[in-house]
Symmetry: C2
Subunit: 217 residues, 2 copies
DNA sequence: TTAATAATTAAACATTCGTTTAAATTTGCG
DNA sequence: CGCAAATTTAAACGAATGTTTAATTATTAA
């Protein structure tokens, strides 16, 4: 008697969500009109208010829909006590990088929302804060485990480490066309570029965190 | 017969520029109306078109005014051959961090513009690209010097290193209120928080780059 | 002082914005 | 089928947008 985990949004609503997601990502929330969203989704203008209530609520629906994907996915790896701490960190890093490339539109929206003054959309700010707390707790747990096993250094400032972690990933997300230009990679298609960047980023971040966390070379 | 380096903008124009800068930073370009800017600057609405031509041109004027501050300032340190490479890197990092905190509004605007699709405002995208290229060349020079002197590792991917550098700094700029919340620092004033963050960030980044660049512990 | 130029203003401009309406169509169900 | 609810539509809403206008005031220089 299997019950699907309730789709919550119909196909048409998902069309709107993903159209809005694409547009918000590239032009920003205020830079995108409801009419553009309707056109991109192939849907009548009024359907957006009809289904979501308002443009603002639509943005919140996007967060509602996407940020769940965040929670569940990470926590799985962590609780296996057999895997050694550094490997766990590596797994986590890979997951973070993959998630970022797979959901790049949503990530760009999230980055934008973080720049906004905290009173812009408090509902969304709360969601982001919750997600950050959760991830930080997770990371803290892995790090402490590694420290207790004597594999990781003491005195690691986890908040700052997270700044570098998400900072690096976000910077890659937001500035990839600059990267492409500076490194003379204009001949690559977007997909080719992304594949290359993902591979490089995975390695880079692992090297980085090995250096931060351990004493080995 | 000393000539001032021509102010280019009158006092009133600078009022408008810095008012717009503040608003664009916290609400975004599209999220800020010309009327808001006029009010924040204590100036009649029409003055903005009168002086700058349009809202878009005003944004470009902000870049014109601020990005110069970028060029000149960094290059000074680098050409002293007596200073050892790691110290040069440290000096550069300190300058970058300071610059970011001193001009935090403009930096937030720059970060936003980088997220936008490249065809949003091509003039500004060009300016950012130029600035990035310039900084990267500078960094490359210092790193290579350190590599030739045998102080730094070989095989350093400078582009990725820059991702981590600016990623970390930008992440700090954009998420400091989340940092404040997560670390229970709500009792601090904005200035107290900033002072603390600046100090921490300076140390963090130096530690980070020592680990990336050298083999010491 | 006076005439020309610059700065400033309030008002109006045409567009676009997000949202609502009311009618038309489709769907689900007895 | 036939009716009620849900969906879809084109049109309209008022408010807000960026920009311009034309009249007024302030400044400059001869």
């Amino acid at each position: 008697m299997e019950e699907k985990p309730l789709p919550a949004y119909t196909e048409k609503q998902q069309q709107i969500i993903s159209a809005a997601e694409r547009l918000f990502a590239s032009k920003g929330f205020d830079g995108t009109s409801v009419r553009e969203i309707a056109q991109e989704a192939g849907v009548n203008l009024a359907m957006i208010s009809y289904y979501f209530g308002s443009k603002e609520k639509l943005l919140e629906a996007i967060f509602d829909e996407r940020i769940i994907y965040f929670r569940t996915e990470l926590e799985s790896v962590i609780n296996d006590p057999k895997i050694e701490p550094l490997k766990k960190v590596y797994q986590l890093l890979d997951k973070l990088v993959d998630r970022n490339f797979e959901r790049s539109c949503f990530h760009r929206i999230m980055i934008r929302e973080q720049i906004d003054s905290p009173n812009k959309n408090e509902f969304i700010q709360k969601m982001i804060l919750e997600s950050k707390k959760r991830t930080q707790e997770l990371v803290k747990k892995i790090i402490h485990e590694g420290q207790e096993k004597g594999v990781f250094k003491k005195n690691i400032d986890i908040s700052l480490m997270m700044m570098t972690l998400f900072g690096t990933i976000n910077q890659m997300t937001t500035t990839q066309h600059f990267y492409q230009e500076i490194n003379g990679l204009q001949h690559l298609t977007t997909e080719e570029l992304q594949t290359r960047l993902k591979k490089k980023l995975r390695i880079h971040i692992k090297t980085l965190f090995k250096a931060i966390l351990t004493n080995e070379n």
